[in-house]
Amino acid sequence: MAVGQSISMIDSQQRVTGGIDYTLNIELPRMLYGRILRSPRAHARVLKVDASKAERLSGVAAVLTRDDLIGDHIDPYFGLIIQDQTPVALDKVRFVGDPVAAVAAVDDETAAEALDLIDVEYEELPAVFDAEEALKPGAVLLHESLRRIIPGRPDVTARSQAGTNIVHLFKQRKGDISQGFRESDHIFDNTFSSPPVNHAALEPHVAVAQVSERQITVWTCSQNPYVVQRQLAGIFKIPMVDVRVIVFTLGGGFGGKLNCKLEPVVAMLAKKTGQPVKITARRNEVFLLGVQHECKVRLKTGVKKDGTLVAVEAYCHYNSGAYGDTTPNLITRGYAAAGPYRVPHLLMDSYGVYTNTAPSAAFRGYGITQVVWAHESQMDIIADALKMDPLEIRLKNILQKGDSFSTGEPMPEMHYNELLESAAEKVGWNNGPIVVREGNKIRAKGIGVIVKGMATPTTSTASIKLNADGSLNVLTSSVEMGQGLKTALAQIAASEAGLPVSRVRVSEPDTSFTPFDLMTAASRATFCMGTAIRKGVQQVRDQLLEAAASMLEAAKEDLILNDGRVMVRGVQGKSVSYSDIVRWTKTNTLLGHGIFVSGSGPDGSPVVMDFETGQGYGSAEWHPAVVTCEVVVDTETGSVKVTRLHGELYVGKVINPRLSELQVEGAMLFALGQVLFEELSSDTNGGITNPNLSDYMLPSFEDVPSQLSVHLLEPHGVTDVHGIGETSLPPVRPAIGNAICRAIGVRILDLPITPEKVLRALENQRKI
């Protein structure tokens, strides 16, 4: 069986020989090159946009301005949930980098030159950069007019109101918070912050558009082609059938390539010029197309003397930047603010707030990362104060099967005890002292735990085509972006179809041919699309069995599928090949359709949270993980070296063990820089000062811990499939933070934990 085997990525050969067709490589006849003029102001009214000089420049085909957004043929507003964005600025710019105009020209240099010729006049407005400042009465408003919210989101309609900068507010109320604190022996109150960081995918955002008489075709590196299709249809007021979105393999996504980014601008330029247009984001623009939500979490926790958690009061302020994008969904992840622990009394307010900063985007870890940093750091603060072992206090409070989560839902078996104990053992938690001093270096261990939800409700569909020669096409809109999805889906299809993986081809998304998938994100594709594919293949199987039963004169129940043949169980030599069956049916092709819709939690209850109390069900699946680590801190410089990093996850049935481990390793290394040095810095005007990969540093291979390990807990006989892409990222941050604190006795509450912050904290400690 292909499932459960560590086969290589099916596109590994192409990956290392330059054989992958990235969107970046597309060239079309007569193709023009687009550039975007971006605002130098954080907040300003646009008084004038005069493109006449630019239009006269030789080689310029068209300049897109707000004048093109007016008229009955167009609805310029788009946005995933709140339609608050336009392809170029209509009346205001809202961050340094907001698009104001765009040029299509014969080459990139000419387009760049034309940008300088566009005359724009601004009337500067006061700007607000901090989420809590933006909530204060009298704060300048980013979006004054009535919000346009997509149907089906009464929660957002109720909370996202004109006259405020609130994008959305999600609340949880459980038990009685006052009683909870009264019953507590100790109360801990800390505020933790996470800065904006960038996905920094190696491949920048790229989109190419071509408009023929009726159809708009867009090639784009998108994680959700169907969302792009729907939004473009809305903008151009045309049926979805006339918008075709094609996606090739992505050079990394990490949440940064969800929803519309360059597609509306490039499509409008293509329409205006009648020629294909390509826009490739320059590296500095990648930083303007979406950043992780900067976030502050105030966490007040009441505990008993013995370490039992009693009450949690949490306030999360997620900075949405200039636009809403995914924020209304993301901030509901405040539901994890109290962690994977039993907390009878809970009060949680999670705000998404507009500010004049670069727009936020989904980001690997999706809003959970910021609250994990808070609750897992504070868990160690509590353990220290109560002189408890960090492992012990977690084991004491961790959710067990049937325990009620912050949403009130009973949790399924999460295997936390095994995960915690195994992860601790992997770094020698109970094997020798937890802190070792070696001259000016101190070595210590740390731990972090997470519960991660999945986007729910959620839909994936797939079409399956068995060809006349017995080979199988899987038509899917799920996106390969380096995570190995094509391989995992091929393994699932091959296993279900009784075919070798080499006989299966997994498509790339093309909305004209491949059926709907919500998105390739939220650690959902292997589970959701994998299930849809299985169901689709089952339909093909049924047809094979039906026909083979007649052909072999055997009962369907006695037939088995193996290696492209249907055989009669226990009867040697009595079998028929798939190609013979297809020929026999005279159809030349057997078709199957798989649909997976999940709107219910693990126990079958619908996933809906009451928007006054946040009680209900939060996710179709819950993903648990534990990360442990060992660090060495140089007390003279404050620098931190992570020497061991271990991820321990429950992911149910593992489709491809080696690829899964690699994906978990990748997620942990992705987090490494975010703990120690990654941070977008900005000047007083709100402009990002380090939008390049020299000033915004990423970890290098030399930063990889010398002991990097992963263990996937896979109980015997387990069949459920869990997502794996994100879960191990968030706990890396507090695990390292906790290890550093254990080493030097001072705690940094604001990420990243730079050597300078560590040294300052040590200096302050020496003074006391």
Binding site: T637, N690, P699, L759
Partner: protein
Amino acid sequence: MPNIKLSQPTTLDEAVTLLAKEGDQIKIIAGGTALVIMLRNHLISPSVLLSLGRLPDLRYIRHEPGTGLRIGGLVTIRDAERAPLIREKQPTLASTFGKVGNIRVRNAATVGGNLSEADYASDPPCMLVALRAKANASSVRGKREIPLTEFFQGFYETALNPDEILTELIVPDLAPGSRSVYLKYVSRSSEDRPCVGMAAVLENQPDGTCKELRLVAGAVAETPQEFESAGAMARGQRLTDQLIEEIAEACSAGAEPLSDLRGSAWYRKQIIRVMARRAMQHVIAGH
């Protein structure tokens, strides 16, 4: 960059003649690792690029007794890092070259380009100042030698005249029994530029007292910073733990570092103290 003319002379004479003629409209390109970034970001806009790539004679590494190492300006950083002759005569310098950027950068960037660019956050300059290296520059007016102690003059500014090309780096041999070290301290990724680079050269008297100590910090100011006080405090003395601590403290106290994304001035002062001490301990211990 369609409006830039590329000129590829095949002799040094041709190159310096062109340079003299075009004046400030011309920029020299060797490995291009720095220049291309500057061009792309519109920090410079020359009308002519003078490529040194076809000059035949600037890729040598030689050793002359009495003079020391002679390294042609077009030797790549990677070749300098790996050259057996440099590893034998100046092992610390070879390893300093090995700390520049990453292997992809080192394969393209050149020794002459590195010095001519004069980026403040680069590894080799402070080491070369500590080694009392010299640069040879050529122009239509002839050839001259510039001590590296006088070469670096500010951010991206050197003693080179606009019509001069850096053709050669000369690194005098260390006196017998001398020891040297370069410590690169990074505050972010391992591949980052230095937050503080610290070069040390120590020459002892036969009796074990210090004849000469040179400590030079890189990446902390516009140009490599030599701590004159360190030399003065150490001369004629035995470098005891206490004296080392005092010298390190003096280096830190005397420094006026800059602030950037790699660390504030305050932080750099602390690191200068630590790195100065560690560098002295290294050269005393001889490893």
